[in-house]
């Protein structure tokens, strides 16, 4: 029963935090939610048996279930990786991490075409050759790898001239 209450408290704290405006509080909320998720997995394995699962224990009645522990290990690491990504997201916004900022005032509200990196295959100057390339690619499923390289080489030739 205690683990159920702990999970409930963690979830309550998490939900309160991630309903706030600041990205940092949202991240802290999700850290708590991650803890709650992991405790649910451990509780699913049954908290009455609490021995370390090592070797081939004689009396299996007191040894904890190793499977949910493996699940929790995987879940912790996944949650950790998403958390550090979110932390980076928190600092790449405007000058602070407020998530309710009106979206477009300092940038162009429309999707700015110059944000798209210039294509190496500048479409205008490649005429039919690129059309064959793309049609070839998507229509004939069983293209051999070899023909990829040969299409690749004229691409390469073209690039060579371009930037060197």
């Amino acid at each position: 029963m205690t683990i159920a209450i702990t999970i409930g408290i963690l979830v309550a704290g998490a939900v309160y935090l991630f309903l706030q405006r600041e990205m940092l509080r949202i991240i802290l909320g999700f850290i708590l939610l991650g803890h709650a998720g992991n405790l649910i997995l451990i509780a699913a394995g049954g908290t009455s048996r609490r021995e370390e699962p090592f070797g081939t224990p004689g009396d299996t009645g007191i040894v904890a279930d190793p499977l949910p522990q493996a699940f929790v290990l995987t879940a912790i690491v996944i949650a950790f990786s998403i958390t550090i990504f979110m932390l980076v997201l928190a600092v790449t916004g405007k000058d602070d991490d407020d998530t309710t900022e009106p979206e477009g005032d300092d940038d162009d509200p429309e999707f700015d075409v110059s944000t798209l990196p210039k294509g190496i295959i500048e479409a205008e100057d490649i005429t039919t050759q690129s059309l064959n390339l793309s049609r070839e690619k998507s229509l004939s499923r069983s293209r051999t790898h070899q023909s990829d390289n040969e299409a690749q080489s004229d691409l390469g030739a073209e690039n060579e001239g371009g930037d060197r």
């Binding site: 205690t2 159920a4 963690l10 979830v11 509780a43 950790f80 980076v88 928190a90 309710t100």
Partner: protein, 953 residues
């Protein structure tokens, strides 16, 4: 055989653009020929005897048992000839109507496509193909209207919306009939017994079909789109909006008359709507000055009459409907084309302007008179014959006594009004005839022969068939039989002797001529009497209303700020818990005692941590408190018997706090105060979600014995893998796929962070506002203590992490824990560095992540030596037991280390990394720039020129 006619029409459709490129506007002549040929093919296919239907079938979708089936019976033949002959004539006409220059490729393509789809519509014997052809005509009309200039776009959209709505009603009818009768073949559907057994089915299908036909044939209340679509050029109006497309609705009603004719609902629907439309159309026509619009309203009125005839449903009225369809097609398309000729020659089609024009167009005049007379129903024209048939049918209708009276009265007034506006057309078009030939007035000369030939032919045929109507007997009889369901014999004649319908006609003609003579006062009287609300306004207002409603519904989803989007799932969780409580019956009893006294201690610690995290106002305290909760969780895992998990949780906690601190210095210090109302709302949702989860955990866990999988691990786990640490063996042996996925997730997080920081520079570091005098300002001296200890601790940590890596299989340890320890070592190195520049760790973190992927996936593929992906391999090398899971763990080690380096390098250092122009790039970025030379060179050059110009903003 009949399939060839459809194929011919499709071929013309393909030929159209090529011919137009070759012959320009004259392509019309060449395209007319195949249509006439198709008509000839149809006639020969029936071998002269029109009563025996000819069938042909091609499979299309056997799973839905839908096939491209064609069936030519009397009714289909009449309409098919109508579509093909009229189509041919109008194409020939447009060869002269269209301007000499200008691109007509799309026009001819769309017109021939329309002809083909109409042909399929009237000849198909499959409900689904009927719907397909129906929608194809809608699309052709949308494009044909839309291509005549920007002004025609709104009408095209309105027309498409109304006709598409009708199309969807037809779709519903098709689906209901297909499911109800179990087949999509029209001939079987019509003879199915369900029409009589299931009144609900019949009623729904009747309403749906009527709705679809009313939108297509512009009946009340959907009549607004027809005048609106007159913006299209005359051939389009003549063909689509007079002869063919609007007849599709009539064809649908005729085709489904056999089962529905007896239905009172069907009769009431059709008769009321027909009568209202007829009267409205006729009244509307009297108020129009533009000849083409006048014809549009007259078309609505004539179609109304047709709908009334079909609604009555007796043999005589259906026969009259077929004849009137033919008559209407002839005179209405002829009139439209003649108006086109006048418009072309005189430059206008508005009566008020035509008044001041001397029109020397004798042939057009006579053709116009013939057409108008036929429309008015004057003998000896075909119009009179069909009107006589109508009155005869209505007079002998049985049923309540007032029914025939209402019918005859309504149609008689309409006919009188028709006479009035027919005269209005003739007088309006040629009022200027008497004008003296003064210098000022412009002359409108007769059109060249090729131009007026086609409409004159149409008008003349009205006269010829009027005088000799029996020519049509062999055509009308099978059509009437197909619609009435019982054999009908037809003897058309101009003169049936003295009978009541002749009297009615006489009265109608008398009243009509009276209206014509008094046309000035009638015009003055009719002008203000327009219908109060215009159909177009309704369509537009509903469209704007839907768009406004859409905007409101769109706003429910709020903006991209996550709080609203995250709150809804939390509320839903509470709802699921409530649903769970109500549905789950009794639960199995709890096994053993899940909680122990020392748990309460940890519970209180976690509760205190959460409470302070919620109430913290500065980011610094929030981070510290989350660290405490993390350590409480580690204790929880220890007492629950999960050593590996506790160790991982501890290390993850340390590194998260490190990254949090790196991030902290770029964020403001305090959290702004939130309004009380918002905090209360969030609190309520939080408590609801919390209690829901507690109930869930209490109810759904701890109530069963040990699972078989756990039993297997504990009994055979060790000797199957040779590892004592069961949790680690699960991770790298039994469920290695999960761990492979996990490593990829972690590695990709590193790549994603690098991608993010390359796409957008992080916000600037906030200075700590330390005055330079204080001893803690100079980071070099302050870090001396840490630097000394790192020299000792560094190698120790590396040895510890390698030791943890190697013993993972037997003791708590393994890939993750060892790598996190290694990561903590690098964190120490970073903290001990005197300045940000020196803190850079020169290892290529993306390379490390990639290596981690390669090793992990490579071990997986090595597993195929033993039969399957990721199977563990055991080999003895110099007495040391080497297993593939160990190699797998090395892959994990590399991946995790790569991510840690990425996080510290990218986040931890001063801003010069993110500023592209800053000189002190490091190796990692040179490699970047070489790669992106292509990309930046283009971007920067363009940006620099534009930036200078724009910076003045």
């Amino acid at each position: 055989m009949i399939l060839t006619s459809v194929v011919i029409s499709l071929v013309t459709c393909v030929l159209a653009p090529l011919l137009t490129r070759a012959a320009g506007r004259n392509a019309g002549w060449f395209l007319a020929i195949p249509l006439f040929a198709a008509a000839a093919v149809l006639v020969t296919a029936t071998g002269g005897d029109f009563t025996r239907p000819v069938e042909q079938r091609v499979a299309w979708m056997p799973t839905l048992d839908v096939s491209f089936a064609l069936r030519l019976d009397g009714l289909s033949l009449v309409f098919a000839l109508l579509v093909l002959v009229m189509g041919g004539l109008i194409l020939a006409y447009s060869a002269r109507y269209l301007g000499r220059d200008g691109k007509h490729g799309t026009f001819y393509l769309l017109m021939t496509a329309f002809a083909a789809s109409m042909l399929v519509l009237v000849m198909t014997d499959d409900l689904v193909v009927l719907f397909v052809a129906w929608e194809a005509t809608t699309l052709c009309s949308f494009f044909l209207i839309g291509r005549s200039g920007p002004g025609a776009r709104e009408p095209a959209i309105r027309t498409l919306l109304v006709t598409a709505a009708g199309g969807l009603l037809l779709l519903a009818a098709v689906a209901t009939m297909a499911i109800g009768t179990g087949t999509t073949q029209i001939s079987d559907v019509l003879t199915d017994s369900i029409w009589r057994d299931d009144p609900a089915f019949t009623a729904t299908v009747a309403v749906l079909l009527a709705g679809a036909a009313f939108t297509k044939s512009a009946q009340f209340p959907f009549q607004a789109w027809l005048p609106d679509s007159m913006v299209a050029i005359t051939p389009v109006s003549a063909y689509l909006h007079a002869a063919a497309m609007v007849k599709a609705g009539i064809y649908l009603l005729l085709r489904f008359s056999p089962p529905l004719a007896g239905e009172t609902l069907w009769t009431v629907l059709l008769v009321t709507s027909g009568l209202v439309t007829a009267l409205l159309g006729a009244a509307g026509a009297l108020r129009r000055f533009d000849l083409k619009e006048l014809l549009a309203y007259s078309t609505i009125s004539q179609l109304g009459l047709l709908v009334v005839m079909i609604g009555v449903g007796t043999e005589a009225s259906l026969k009259a409907a077929v004849i009137h369809t033919i008559a209407h097609a002839l005179f209405k398309s002829a009139l439209f084309m003649l108006i086109g000729v006048i418009d072309h020659q005189a430059g206008t089609r508005d009566m008020r302007e035509l008044k001041h024009l001397r029109t020397r167009m004798p042939v057009t005049f006579t053709a116009l008179v013939l057409g108008a007379a036929s429309m008015a129903g004057l003998p000896p024209l075909l119009g009179f014959v069909s009107k006589e048939g109508m009155f005869a049918a209505f007079l002998e209708v049985h049923g309540p006594v007032w029914f025939p009276v209402l019918l005859v009265a309504g149609t008689a007034t309409t006919s009188a009004l028709t006479l009035a506006y027919s005269a209005r057309i003739v007088l309006g078009a040629f009022a200027g005839k008497e004008e003296p030939a003064s210098a000022g007035t412009r002359e409108a000369h007769e059109a060249p022969a090729a131009f007026w030939a086609v409409p004159a032919l149409g008008a003349a045929s009205g006269l010829v068939l009027g005088v000799l109507p029996f020519l049509l007997d062999s055509l009308v009889a099978p059509a009437a039989t197909a619609t009435a369901g019982t054999p009908v014999d037809v003897h058309l004649a101009l003169w049936h002797g003295l009978n009541p319908e002749l009297a009615v006609s006489a009265v109608v003609i008398a009243v009509g001529t009276g209206l014509v003579l008094a046309r000035r006062p009638v015009e003055v009287f009719m002008l203000p009497r327009g219908i109060p609300v215009s159909g177009l306004a309704i369509v537009d207002r509903t469209r704007q209303g839907i768009i406004r409603l859409g905007a409101v519904v769109g706003n429910w989803t709020g903006s991209t700020s996550p709080s609203r989007h995250l709150g809804i799932p939390a509320v839903c969780l509470a709802i699921i818990a409530v649903a769970g409580i109500s549905t789950v019956g009794e639960l199995p009893s709890v096994v053993g005692n899940p909680s122990r006294p020392e748990d309460w201690l940890l519970l209180i610690l976690v509760a205190a941590g959460v409470a302070s995290a919620v109430y913290s106002h500065t980011r610094y305290t929030a981070i510290v408190v989350t660290g405490i909760i993390g350590f409480a969780m580690t204790l929880w895992y220890f007492i629950l018997g999960a050593a590996d998990v506790a160790l991982t949780q501890l290390l993850v906690e340390i590194l998260t706090v490190c990254v949090l601190v790196l991030v902290l210095r770029r964020l403001p210090n305090k959290f702004p105060r939130e309004s009380r109302k918002k905090r209360l709302g969030a609190g309520l949702v939080a408590v609801a979600a919390g209690t829901a989860t507690t109930i869930g955990v209490w109810a759904l866990t701890g109530r069963r014995e040990m699972s078989e999988a756990a039993e297997y691990f504990m009994t055979q786990g060790e000797e199957a893998t040779g590892g004592a640490n069961l949790v680690n063996t699960i991770l790298v042996d039994f469920r290695a796929l999960d761990t492979l996925g996990e490593v990829t997730v972690l590695g990709v997080a590193g790549i994603a962070i690098a991608a993010l920081l390359r796409s957008r520079a992080p916000s600037a570091i906030r200075s700590a506002k330390l005055d330079t005098g204080t001893p803690i300002y100079d980071s070099l001296e302050n870090s001396v203590f840490l630097r000394v200890t790192t020299r000792v601790l560094g190698p120790l940590i590396i040895v510890l992490s390698l030791y943890l890596l190697l013993r993972g299989h037997q003791e708590p340890g393994g890939g993750f824990i060892s790598a996190l320890v290694g990561g903590a070592g690098f964190a120490l190195l970073y903290l001990a560095a005197p300045s940000d520049a020196a803190a850079r760790i020169r290892w290529p973190y993306l390379g490390l992540i990639g290596a981690g992927f390669l090793v992990a996936a490579g071990t997986g593929f090595m597993g195929y030596l033993e039969g399957s992906f990721l199977t563990p391999l055991h080999t003895e090398v110099l007495g040391v037991k080497l297993t593939s899971p160990l190699l797998f763990d090395v892959g994990v080690y590399l991946g995790v280390l790569g991510v840690m380096l990425a996080a510290f390098n990218l986040l931890g250092r001063h801003d010069e990394h993110s500023d592209p122009t800053h000189p002190s790039h490091d190796a990692e970025d040179e490699e970047h720039d070489a790669f992106l030379a292509l990309d930046d060179m283009g971007d920067d050059r363009m940006d620099r020129t534009i930036e200078d110009e724009v910076t003045s903003r």
